[in-house]
C-alpha cells in the first residue's frame, strides 16, 4: 500500500502529465489515419525519449499506444477504413451507422466504451497483475490451439446471411495467412518466387483493401446522384443508450482483459470475441451488422480492454504480448527498466507511478477523445465523390509508409478488388480477416503441440484449461448455429 501511495506522488508532476497527454494526442491523430500504425508512432517517438527521465518517457509511449487503439475507431466509423487492426470489427456496425446519419452516436459510443474498458483494464493491471500473469503462464500450445479454435467460432456471428459463404471467406483468410515462410521447416510457401512474399502478406494492407478500397470501387458502381451516405454526423449519444449498453461494455472489457493478458493474442481477437458474445446475448441480435450501436460498444470495449492488460505479462513476466509491447519492451530497457517478476519489488515506486499514470490516462482519453470526435465529425459534411478519392490517397500513403513498399500498396489494391467481388456475391469480408489473424496462431500451435507430444494427439485433450475451451468452443458453435437470425443459408 505504501508503494501505491508513493507511486501516486511520483506520478503527479507536470512533466509526467504533459508527457502522457502529448502521447495521447499523438496516438489519437496517428490512430485515426488509416495505415499509420501505433507501432510506427512508438518507434518514431522512441529516439525523442532518450533524453527524458524514464517515467515520462514510458508514459509518453503508453499514451500513444492506448489512445491509438481507441482512435482507430474514428476512421473505421467515418470512412470504413480502420485506423488500426484492432478496430476492424467496429466497421461492421460503425460504418452502417455513419451511412444512416448516426456517425456522432457511433463515435460517442466508441469513445465511452473505450474509456470504460480502458479503466477496467487498468484496474486489473493494478489489482490482478500477479494472478492473471500466473494464469497466462499456464498456456501451452494445446491450450492456445483451443483458445484460437474458440475464437474462430466468431465466424458464425459475422458471416452475414450465409454461413457457408462466411466459412469460405474465413478459409480464404487462413489460406492467405499461410503465404510466406513456414515456421517449422523454414521453407517458402505459396510465394511463387516473389521475394516480397517470403515475409508473408501484411495485415494492414489487407484490412484497408478489403474495407476502404472495396468501398471506393463500390461507390463508383452506384447510381449517380443517389445519396450514398448521410452528410450529417447526427445527434449525440444519449445517457440511456450508454446505460443500456453498459453490460455489453463491461463484458467486453473482461474479455479484453483475459485476451490481453495472454501473450500472442491481441486486440483484434478480443474485439471480435466481444462482438460475437454481444450478438449472442442481445435482444437486437438481428440488427448486428446493419448499424447496431451495441455492436460498436462490444467491439470497442473488447479491443480497449486489451490495452492495460497486455502490459500485465510485460511488467510482471517480462513477456511482450505483441509487436507494440515488444517495441515498448525495448523502450523500457533503454531507460534502465528491466521488466520481469522482480520489477515489482526492485522498482516498485516506478511501477506504481506508471500504473497510476495508466489509470488516469482514461480521463485524458475521454477529454482528448471528445475533442477528436467533434473535429472528425466534420468529415461527414464532405460529399462522397470528394471524400472517396481523398480516402484512397490516405490508404495508399498509409500503406506505403508501413514498409516503404509499393508491393504492399499493390496487395492493398488486390485486396480491394477481392473485397469488391466478395460484396457482389454477398460474401462477408470480416470472416476473412478473422481467418487471416487467427490462422497462423492456430496452425502454429497445432503443429507445435503435435511436435512436442511426438505425434500423440491426445495432448489436445489433456488439462483443465483445454477442456474449458473445448466446452466453450462446442457451446459457441451450437449457439451460433441455432441462433434464428444467423441462418445456415438463406
Amino acid at each position: 500500500m505504501e508503494h501505491v501511495l508513493i507511486g501516486l506522488k511520483t506520478f503527479l508532476t507536470v512533466q509526467n502529465i504533459l508527457a502522457l497527454t502529448f502521447g495521447q494526442a499523438i496516438g489519437v491523430v496517428i490512430g485515426a489515419i488509416p495505415g499509420l500504425t501505433v507501432t510506427m508512432a512508438i518507434a518514431l517517438l522512441l529516439p525523442f525519449t532518450f533524453g527524458m527521465p524514464a517515467l515520462p518517457a514510458v508514459l509518453l509511449l503508453v499514451g500513444v499506444y492506448k489512445a491509438g487503439i481507441y482512435a482507430g475507431s474514428i476512421s473505421a466509423i467515418l470512412i470504413k477504413a480502420p485506423g488500426t487492426p484492432a478496430s476492424a470489427c467496429t466497421v461492421l456496425d460503425g460504418w452502417p451507422m455513419a451511412q444512416q446519419g448516426q456517425a456522432r452516436r457511433a463515435m460517442d459510443m466508441a469513445l465511452y466504451a473505450s474509456c470504460v474498458a480502458d479503466f477496467v483494464s487498468n484496474l486489473s493491471l493494478l489489482l490482478l497483475a500477479g494472478l492473471i500473469a500466473s494464469f497466462a503462464l499456464r498456456f501451452g500450445p494445446p491450450e492456445f490451439f483451443w483458445l484460437i479454435a474458440f475464437a474462430l467460432t466468431v465466424v458464425t456471428a459475422v458471416s452475414g446471411a450465409s454461413l457457408l459463404k462466411g466459412l469460405v471467406s474465413a478459409s480464404l483468410g487462413v489460406l492467405l495467412s499461410t503465404v510466406g515462410m513456414d515456421l517449422v521447416y523454414g521453407t517458402p510457401r505459396l510465394t511463387f518466387g516473389v521475394l516480397e512474399l517470403t515475409g508473408g502478406l501484411s495485415f494492414v494492407p489487407l484490412l484497408i483493401g478489403l474495407f476502404a478500397v472495396a468501398e471506393i470501387f463500390e461507390f463508383y458502381g452506384r447510381e449517380p446522384g443517389k445519396v450514398e451516405r448521410s452528410r450529417s454526423a447526427g445527434a449525440r449519444l444519449k445517457w440511456e443508450e450508454f446505460r443500456n449498453c453498459l453490460p455489453t461494455i463491461l463484458r467486453g472489457s473482461v474479455i479484453g482483459v483475459i485476451i490481453g493478458a495472454i501473450p500472442g493474442t491481441g486486440p483484434a481477437i478480443a474485439s471480435f470475441l466481444s462482438y460475437a458474445e454481444a450478438k449472442r446475448t442481445s435482444k437486437r441480435a438481428a440488427n448486428f451488422g446493419h448499424g447496431e450501436i451495441e455492436g460498436v460498444a462490444a467491439s470497442e470495449s473488447g479491443n480497449n480492454g486489451v490495452a492495460g492488460a497486455t502490459l500485465i505479462p510485460l511488467l510482471a513476466l517480462g513477456i511482450p504480448g505483441d509487436v507494440i509491447t515488444a517495441v515498448m519492451f525495448g523502450a523500457f530497457l533503454i531507460h534502465g527498466i528491466d521488466p520481469g517478476p522482480t520489477l515489482f519489488t526492485r522498482q516498485a515506486d516506478f511501477v506504481y507511478a506508471l500504473i497510476w499514470g495508466i489509470m488516469l490516462s482514461s480521463i485524458g482519453l475521454l477529454v482528448l477523445g471528445r475533442i477528436a470526435v467533434s473535429a472528425f465529425a466534420r468529415t461527414t459534411t464532405v460529399p462522397s465523390h470528394i471524400l472517396m478519392p481523398i480516402v484512397l490517397i490516405f490508404c495508399v500513403f498509409g500503406t506505403y509508409s508501413i514498409n516503404n513498399s509499393t508491393f504492399d500498396v499493390l496487395i492493398m489494391l488486390g485486396a480491394g478488388v477481392l473485397g469488391y467481388v466478395m460484396s457482389k456475391v454477398d460474401m462477408a469480408a470480416a470472416p476473412l480477416l478473422i481467418g487471416f489473424v487467427l490462422g497462423p496462431i492456430f496452425e502454429d500451435n497445432f503443429r507445435r503441440s503435435v511436435l512436442v507430444a511426438r505425434g500423440d494427439y491426445t495432448t489436445f485433450f489433456q488439462g483443465p484449461i483445454v477442456w474449458v475451451f473445448i466446452v466453450l468452443t462446442a457451446l459457441s458453435l451450437i449457439f451460433g448455429l441455432r441462433k434464428k437470425n444467423v441462418p445456415i443459408e438463406k
Partner: protein
C-alpha cells in the same frame, strides 16, 4: 441438363460462385500446392507436420464448401421454379448500369495505374493526378472544387505524411519538393 433461363439472379450467381470455387481450389490443391510448397521427405523432425498440411486442408474445405453452395443454389432454383415468378422492378435503367460498369472499371484501371506510377513520378504528382481523375469521374465539374479536392488536399496530406509523420514517400519527379 441445367436450364438457367428460369433461374433467379441469386441462384444463378451462387451456382456459378460454387462451381468457380470448386474448380479454382481443386486446381490449387492439385497444381499450386505441389509446385509452390516444397515436399519434406524423411526429415529428422519426424513428428512435425508437413508445410503443406494446413494449406491442403483449407483448400479442400473451400472446394467442399463451394460444392455445397452450388448444390444449395441449384435446389433453391428448383424450388423457385415451382412457384410463379414475380416481376422485380428495381427502377434502374440499362444506361446507368452501363455507366456504373464504366465508372467502376475506370476507377480500377486508374487506381492500378496510380500505384504503378507511384515510384516513377512520385507520390505527390501521382496523388494529384488520381484525385483529379476520380473527382471528375464521379461527375464533379466545378473547377474550384476540382482544384481544392484534386490539388490542395493531396498536397496537404502529402506534407502531413512526409513532414509530420516522417514517412519517406517516393518523390519521383518532385524530388525538389
Amino acid at each position: 441438363m441445367l436450364n438457367f433461363e428460369n433461374w433467379n439472379v441469386t441462384s444463378k450467381r451462387d451456382f456459378l460462385l460454387g462451381v468457380v470455387l470448386v474448380i479454382l481450389f481443386l486446381a490449387i490443391f492439385f497444381w499450386v500446392i505441389p509446385t509452390q510448397i516444397p515436399a519434406i521427405v524423411a526429415h529428422p523432425l519426424a513428428h512435425a507436420l508437413a508445410p503443406s498440411f494446413m494449406p491442403s486442408i483449407v483448400t479442400l474445405i473451400v472446394a467442399v464448401l463451394g460444392f455445397l453452395i452450388a448444390v444449395r443454389a441449384w435446389r433453391s432454383a428448383v424450388t423457385d421454379a415451382a412457384t410463379p415468378p414475380q416481376e422485380i422492378v428495381d427502377g434502374t435503367t440499362e444506361d446507368w448500369r452501363r455507366a456504373a460498369v464504366f465508372r467502376t472499371a475506370s476507377a480500377l484501371v486508374a487506381s492500378f495505374a496510380y500505384v504503378f506510377l507511384l515510384d516513377a513520378i512520385g507520390a505527390l504528382s501521382s496523388a494529384v493526378s488520381i484525385t483529379v481523375i476520380l473527382v471528375l469521374l464521379a461527375g464533379e465539374r466545378r473547377w474550384r472544387t476540382v482544384v481544392v479536392a484534386g490539388i490542395v488536399v493531396p498536397t496537404v496530406i502529402y506534407l502531413v505524411f512526409t513532414q509530420i509523420a516522417a514517412a519517406p514517400l517516393p518523390r519521383g519527379i518532385t524530388s525538389f519538393f
